[in-house]
């Protein structure tokens, strides 16, 4: 049998050819993820079952589920940080998606040139590294002499303590996310909006549908896959939020910004307790996974048009 015939037989005519193609397409991705994702992940899982910290690296022991039990029974520590993170997620993710979608809906009808200008303006803050960005943010929101307080003062409003007070620290970190960090969302939504066939809107115009119902009946369903992606990515980012606590508040004041990921980081690097930190990470992974699954269920209908 010559090569061409074999090709035809296995990759074109067989009822399994679709499978084969799928695995060919996925081969590199699978090999890569096995090496750089699954292997470390499984190792991290192993660490989570061990007593593995810098005090006993010469004497690592298997201790079963003890790390997990320690975490799940730790009401003052772990669950406190879960609460803070959940609150942060609840207030940032929907607001962020609404802002990104709103901005893209505003940008969408504009001409190409001004649309590009705004898209760039929203994306460009991403080019500054997190380190430098946080230096600037510390300075902008400084309770003593920051730009934010200067503006409030000029407007005749009372100044705020921003990240210096437990009442406003979490809010300040949220504000930083609300004000910037929509670049990705705006790009995705504007791209998705352009893919919505114009004919659907024309049809709706004939039906004299209002703008609102046009949005809910046409735009929203077609934006669903994008929304699902943005939602899951934002959920992951927000559950793993870290840089605000790391660079600015260090988890304080009075534990008001003690995020889960900050706790894991502290456990891992500052206290060198690799086993416990890995267990925390695995728990976090499953928390995010369950929430994402629910989202998939709610938004994940395959869209065909």
């Amino acid at each position: 049998m010559n090569l061409k015939a074999a090709w035809k037989r296995y990759f074109e005519d067989s009822k399994y050819s679709e499978w084969r193609w799928a695995y060919i397409f996925l081969a590199v991705d699978l090999a890569w993820s096995a090496l750089f994702l699954f292997y470390p992940l499984i190792r991290a899982f192993i660490f989570s079952l061990q007593e593995f910290n810098l005090s006993n690296i010469g004497n690592v022991r298997f201790i079963g589920l003890k790390n997990y039990i320690d975490i799940l029974t730790d009401t003052s520590g772990w669950w406190h940080s879960v609460k803070i993170t959940a609150m942060y997620t609840l207030f940032t993710v929907p607001v962020n998606i609404a802002i990104a979608m709103g901005l893209s809906l505003l940008i969408h009808p504009l001409g190409d040139r001004s649309a590009n200008f705004y898209k760039s303006a929203f994306y460009l803050p991403g080019v500054i590294s997190a380190t430098v960005m946080s230096v600037i943010m510390i300075w902008v929101f400084s309770p003593m002499s920051g730009l934010a307080n200067l503006i409030l003062e000029k407007l005749g409003l009372p100044t705020l303590r921003w990240y210096g007070s437990p009442d406003t620290a979490l809010l300040t970190l949220m504000l930083m996310i609300w004000l910037s960090g929509h670049g990705m969302g705006v790009l995705l939504y504007t791209a998705a909006l352009k893919r919505v066939p114009q004919s659907l809107y024309e049809a709706a115009d004939i039906d004299a549908a209002s703008g609102w119902s046009k949005f809910w009946r046409i735009t929203w369903p077609l934006l669903k896959p994008t929304t699902l992606y943005v939602l899951v990515i934002q959920l992951i980012e927000s559950f793993q939020t870290f840089s605000g606590a790391f660079f600015i508040t260090r988890g304080g004041p009075i534990r008001s910004t003690e995020f889960v990921n900050w706790r894991i980081y502290e456990t891992f690097y500052r206290y060198g307790n690799f086993g416990l930190a890995s267990a925390m990470a695995v728990v976090l992974m499953f928390v995010i996974m369950v929430i994402s699954l629910v989202n998939f269920k709610l938004l994940g209908t395959d869209v065909e048009y």
Binding site: L41, I42, R43, F45, I46, S48, L49, Q50, F52, N53, L54, S55, N56, I57, G58, N59, V60, R61, F62, S76, G77, H80, I138, S142, P143, M144, T159, R161, Y163, G164, S165, P166, R250, G252, P253, I254, R255, E266, F268, Y269, R270, Y271, G272, N273, F274, F286, M289, V290, L293, F296, K297
Partner: protein, 528 residues
């Protein structure tokens, strides 16, 4: 949904199976370090990796120095390549953590013992630190000239020779005052520097300093800024150790260890905490000499405020003098506007006239070498030590120090004349720093870490993270009274004491640690 849940379950099972299968495999514990002093085959090309923080960068004088020395060494030893690797302070320790987790510590690490072996790190990294072979440890002459404090910093509690070489020092536990403001209140800064001052003196000066200098109705000059509430200026200001006079209490409070390693009892120095907390609330909310907005401000902001002459006091180490000098230079050149600052390095205020000065700590930066798995061979180890000795060669260090190669807070250890008054300059601050050399002590909480079990360490870590820091912050922010805070701390400590039985608190090394501490106190002439 059911299918997805099933898939999720399948994924979990896969992880669990793979995990447990692999978890059963535990590598053989690594025993011993095979340095046997036997000649090996000469390595054709050897690479030594030296890791440090940003002070390796050529923009720091110490970095230029290190690079110049490494270049010279490589010229003399063409078969050895020295690679300098550095990152920011936080990144460095993160990387070291990952490396040690893989039992792959760097050949040489530059850092202070207090950080490398910090209680939070389990105090256990010592397992991987090489015991320095005798031929590379200090000889009798060197030991004699080093003085008890430096020597103390160079050894690991209970055993000698884990640090290859002490290199630079960083003075901590001091503060700086603005000379002009102090004189305005009728005090002499030189007198304060020489004989110390009390918290009442501090308050009197701060009251005079706190005012509205440009008459716009807003106070713009303060006694001090508060700064970060964790690990830094804030805790330095409110440091409970300020209020403890006997050295034993100071040691305990400074390390914030809350356990007596002699008896294994948990304790809380209630009186000191109460006084410290009350005083802070008084300064911020009653006397208003510290702006409440500055609670939680960054260290940089506090330092800058002092450098710009906005505050009278800053609880910083000697390195701030360089910042002041730089700012003054810019003003001289006309690049900055404002008034020059006349800064004096002083001890922290003390409770009353008769109590001794607050202890001044010195972090000694040194070179550490780590065991590595697999072992790279004796020849490699010898090369590492050769480089370390070369780096610390006392011959060219005074020259380099003299040509301002090394900033004043990072002076090279130079034997008997550790501080070289002539090199530092002859001003009051230089003389004071020289005087510190006689009274300093290294941070001793390491002893307490070594003397306690992992259970105690974990419990105390959790206590600091979840009770001590937030409770202190509540006091600073005036949310609770000092008494409530002390009660809270006591209750949390009592709970720890209940959870950990007495015979599971101290390690077998505890008696040796106690003896070591007592010996050290005797050597330096301090009372226990």
């Amino acid at each position: 949904m059911k299918r997805l849940a099933l898939l999720c379950l399948a994924l979990l099972t896969v992880f669990a199976l793979a995990g447990s299968a692999l978890a059963a495999y535990v590598p053989e514990p690594f025993d011993g370090y095979p340095y046997d002093d036997q000649p090996d085959a000469v390595i054709e090309k050897d690479v030594i990796v030296v890791m440090g923080s940003s002070n390796f960068d050529p923009s720091y004088p110490s970095g230029s120095y290190l690079q110049a020395v490494a270049k010279l060494f490589m010229e003399q030893n063409p078969n050895i390549e020295v690679q300098l690797n550095y990152g920011s302070w936080g990144d460095l320790w993160n990387k070291v953590g990952v490396m040690l987790g893989n039992r792959q510590g760097p050949d040489i690490l530059v850092g202070p013992r207090e950080y490398l072996l910090a209680p939070g790190r389990g105090g256990g990294q010592w397992e991987d630190i090489l015991t320095v072979p005798d031929e590379y440890y200090f000889d009798e002459f060197e030991k004699a000239v080093m003085g008890p404090a430096i020597l103390e910093s160079c050894r690991f509690p209970g055993r000698e020779g884990y640090m290859i070489w002490p290199w630079t020092n960083y003075i901590d536990g001091t503060g700086v005052i603005n000379g002009d403001m102090v004189r305005e209140a009728g005090y002499d800064p030189l007198e304060i520097q020489k004989n110390g001052w009390t918290w009442d003196d501090f308050l009197k000066i701060a009251r005079v300093a706190t005012k509205d200098t440009n008459n716009d109705g807003k106070i713009d000059q303060w006694g001090s800024y508060f700064g970060p509430t964790v690990d830094s200026d804030g805790t330095r200001l409110a440091l409970t150790a300020n209020w403890c006079s006997p050295i034993a209490l100071r040691l305990k409070a400074e390390g914030q260890t809350f356990i007596d390693i002699k008896t294994g009892d948990f304790f809380l120095d209630k009186d000191a905490f109460l006084k410290g907390f009350t005083w802070i609330q008084k300064l911020v909310y009653e006397e208003k000499v510290i702006p409440a907005e500055s609670i939680g401000a960054s260290t940089d902001e506090c330092r800058d405020a002092f450098v710009q002459g906005k505050t009278m006091f800053c609880a910083a180490g000697s390195d701030i003098l360089d910042e002041v000098a730089e700012r003054n230079r810019l003003i001289d050149k006309g690049l900055e506007t404002g008034k020059k600052v006349d800064a004096y390095l002083v001890p922290r205020p003390k409770p009353d006239k008769n109590s001794p000065n607050h202890p001044i700590r010195v972090y000694v930066y040194g070179y550490y070498h780590f065991k590595q798995e697999p072992y790279k061979g004796d020849a490699h180890t010898r090369n590492v030590f050769k480089f370390a000795k070369f780096l610390a060669n006392p011959v060219f260090q005074p020259l380099l120090a003299h040509s301002a190669f090394i900033p004043s807070d990072m002076r090279v250890w130079m034997g008997e004349d550790a501080w070289f008054p002539g090199i530092l300059g002859s001003d009051a601050n230089a003389q004071y720093m020289e005087q510190i050399a006689q009274t300093w002590h290294p941070r001793l909480d390491l002893y307490i870490t070594m003397a306690t079990t992992t259970d105690v360490q974990n419990a105390l870590t959790k206590f600091r993270q979840e009770v001590l820091t937030p409770t202190s912050e509540e006091v600073y922010l005036n949310k609770i009274t000092p008494q409530q805070a002390v009660d809270k701390l006591q209750a949390a400590l009592d709970k720890i004491a209940q959870d950990i039985p007495k015979d599971k608190r101290l390690t077998s090394e505890a008696p040796a640690m106690v003896k070591d501490l007592e010996d050290f106190a005797k050597k330096t002439g301090q009372k226990i």
